[in-house]
Symmetry: D2
Subunit: 139 residues, 4 copies
């Protein structure tokens, strides 16, 4: 399972472009980290919500993927993100965990933390879908 997550993650160019690292993978739980980067800021100089959302989405996606059957591919169907404070900091920790896995839909929750803050500055509720046997879609 770990190998499948790593292999799929390594194919996400978006993650390497953002400089994201996978710091922990367990069944239904994934943690990633991200550094502030001036290339990905919004108009006030904070990290753009879209960069944070991308990593939250991936963390939730791989948390879901980690509990899917080995022949499933994972796609994001939808997510809601709440931005509770600006993404102000140097290093961000992003977590994704499975709330409940159904037949084809898996619901996950994600949280984003800045530096040593114990309160999340962003939270996500995501719906991932397992896809089987669709040409060109694996992992």
């Amino acid at each position: 399972m770990l190998a499948r997550v790593r292999a799929s993650f390594d194919r996400q160019a978006m993650m390497s472009t953002l400089g994201v690292e996978v710091t922990s993978v367990a069944p239904g739980q994934v943690e990633m980290s991200l550094r502030h980067d001036d290339r990905f800021t919004q108009q006030h100089g904070f990290l753009h919500a879209g960069a944070v959302a991308s990593v939250l989405d991936s963390a939730c996606g791989y948390a879901a993927f980690s509990v899917m059957p080995p022949d499933a591919a994972v796609l994001t169907a939808s997510y809601t993100i709440n931005l509770l404070a600006p993404a102000a900091g140097e290093r961000f920790t992003i977590t994704g965990e499975v709330v409940r896995a159904g037949r084809t839909l898996v619901v996950c929750r994600g949280e984003a933390f800045a530096d040593g803050d114990a309160r999340p500055f962003a939270v996500m509720q995501a719906t991932l879908t397992a896809v089987f046997g669709r040409p060109g879609i694996s992992g």
Copy 2:
């Protein structure tokens, strides 16, 4: 108003990094465009949902900003994105429009289209907030 939107957009490094262009701004309505870029793909080779969401978020944000008082800054409070199909294509058109503007909250809808497809491949419902007099937060 147009000048304020442009000035703020030009300060979003994330937008220039993604190669986003503002193609149209009117009160309550913004359109942007984005090209496929291999640096921002997910594991199946399509544009990452996070890249699409970043631009939808900005299009909704500036649609909201365009109807706010001149001294307001705009922040995204939350959004929900539904991904209806993979972001497959060469050129993407992303729209944001105001549904209704309240005292401090503005609700917008965004849609993302690939090449000449008239059906959106992603839709967003976003809540933007007007911020006044907060140090370091303008535009």
Copy 3:
């Protein structure tokens, strides 16, 4: 299709308890109406968001159901509702329409209007799922 929608709607006790009427059904588009009722108010005397959301959910659900295969049952996977103003009025019109229908997921948008107001006081983005061959789940 119309008969299937009506038959399923008539089995939703929640809808008759709330006094909801289906005023129009077309492929991918449903309209319902609802009257103010003091039994379903929140603490300020307006209709409770939950009552409005119930009808928006049903309108979106039947819009989705109307474009599903005849042997599908419809379930709501998730929705996001934005409440733009209190539900103040006597008579509410609630619409649901399909944005895009995929293999098993259908995304809909709903809007709620009070009396003659042309601006919605609530909007919904909903994800419905088609269910096949699950015992006890039809319509």
Copy 4:
């Protein structure tokens, strides 16, 4: 604080109509309970998502209200609900808790449990807004 929550809850006719009880209130945390009622079912005989959402919305709303200043009224700005399984059961426990409280916006998470099941069958991410000095809006 407890008295303010109870007083406001008692004015929500929707809650008494649904038969909801407040079982616990602490700063930032509220728990309610609800029984199955044939008047509030959907087409498959389960409790309608709208009934569950109404109680989740109220639980989140009062969790937020419990950490707001005494002169604030609470309104729901938006919420996202994921329905992970049908609301099958006799007695439902619904919780709401504050994730983070900002100046005017408070983000909460809600969970709904059926009978003795430790896994939620529905989860909510809600955005509540504090309202001050608006005529007719208190509590």
